[in-house]
């Protein structure tokens, strides 16, 4: 379970909290809560939204704990996102979960070109220089990686409004 879900759980928590250590705390608590709540889990449902709801809740708990004990104000964006629970922020967080989960299933080559193209915002010429490969190869790799990302997301990638709602928490 850790191997399959730790990365998307960490990504979701980090997206909410903006701090790696706090996100790790949230994931740790989420696994403990999942373990303790296992007998109440309905096996006819998917494990993913259940774990998603748990880690989102533990991330909010971590945020509240930090705010209470350390007076941290740098996490104010969390209060807005998590407390409001609006559809847009919920969908954004679920997207982070799904995409991260999909990336974990993809090859290192596919992940690399997506990272360079979308995280580092490199042009295809720059990617070609960085990787030392022809630009035509970059184009085909990016195209292939995007298709694989979409295919991997596939039916599992819920459309807007289908993401696990805050009420399930």
């Amino acid at each position: 379970m850790y191997d399959r879900f730790a990365a998307p759980m960490f990504a979701a928590a980090l997206n909410l909290l903006g701090d790696r250590e706090l996100a790790a705390d949230a994931v740790q608590q989420a696994f403990v809560q999942a373990w303790q709540a296992a007998s109440s889990f309905d096996p006819s449902r998917s494990l993913r939204p259940w774990l998603y709801a748990i880690v989102r809740r533990t991330a909010i708990d971590v945020y509240r704990r930090e705010r209470r004990f350390s007076g941290t104000v740098s996490l104010d964006h969390v209060a807005h996102e998590s407390a409001s629970g609006d559809e847009q922020s919920l969908e954004r967080l679920w997207t982070v979960w799904c995409v991260r989960e999909a990336l974990e299933r993809m090859s290192p080559d596919d992940r690399t070109v997506l990272y360079l193209a979308y995280f580092e915002s490199l042009t295809q010429n720059e990617i070609a220089q960085r990787l030392g490969i022809p630009i035509g190869t970059v184009k085909s790799r990016v195209s292939r990686a995007q298709k694989r990302l979409l295919n991997t997301l596939g039916a599992d990638f819920l459309t807007a409004g289908d993401s696990p709602s805050a009420t399930r928490n």
């Binding site: 990504a11 373990w35 982070v96």
Partner: protein, 200 residues
């Protein structure tokens, strides 16, 4: 991508995917010690409450989660289990001790019931790698006889050793490790280097 406007370039992903891929959270790996922290926290937390009667599927989920937790334990060494001798899921740990042939041997043995047999995981210290042409062999022994649970050599790894018993260890309460020599046949050499009592 800045130059994706060319006609022969791949179509752009939609905005929410682009935003997700551009976020720090998407690419940050979990901390290296997170798995160990999760395992430690889970093992020290109160276990799940028993499932209501008749909910076999839910019990199966509990068992699955327990198995997942224990699989993590197997991968990261049994030392983490020392704080609790028994964990949910029909699993327990017992001590492993060296004999006069290997007095420096110590360690723990995780015994886990699974649907396909009994998984026996050794975390052993002080046992040298078996030399060329030699190997170690595990056995369980009891009034019903002696059954081998597998062989290993420890030459390339100090990871826990995973052995399997196809018999109910309740009837074979003693586990032994012998030093064997290739070409000498399948019988025990009698050179016992470590033992563990699998049942009280």
């Amino acid at each position: 991508m800045k130059d994706r406007a060319h006609a022969d370039e791949p179509p752009p992903l939609d905005r929410r995917l682009r935003d997700a891929l551009a976020s720090d959270a998407m690419w940050a790996p979990p901390p290296d010690d997170l798995r160990r922290r999760v395992l430690d926290a889970t093992l020290h937390a109160p276990g799940p409450p028993p499932a209501p009667p008749g909910t076999r599927r839910r019990r199966a989920v509990v068992t699955t989660l327990a198995a997942a937790t224990l699989a993590m334990a197997a991968g990261y060494g049994l030392g983490l289990l020392s704080a609790r001798d028994t964990v949910p899921g029909g699993t327990k740990t017992v001590a492993l001790a060296g004999t006069d042939l290997a007095p420096r041997v110590s360690g723990q043995v995780l015994v886990r019931e699974t649907p396909s047999g009994v998984e026996i995981i050794l975390e052993v210290a002080g046992l040298p790698p078996a030399g060329r042409g030699r190997y170690y062999q595990g056995w369980v022994k009891g009034t019903a006889g002696t059954v081998t649970i597998g062989t290993f050599h420890l030459r390339d790894s100090r990871e826990p050793v995973v052995l399997w018993a196809g018999v109910d260890v309740q009837g074979y309460p003693l586990m032994t490790i012998t030093l064997q020599q290739e070409g000498k046949g399948p019988a025990s050499s009698g050179k016992v280097v470590a033992t563990a009592a699998l049942t009280p």
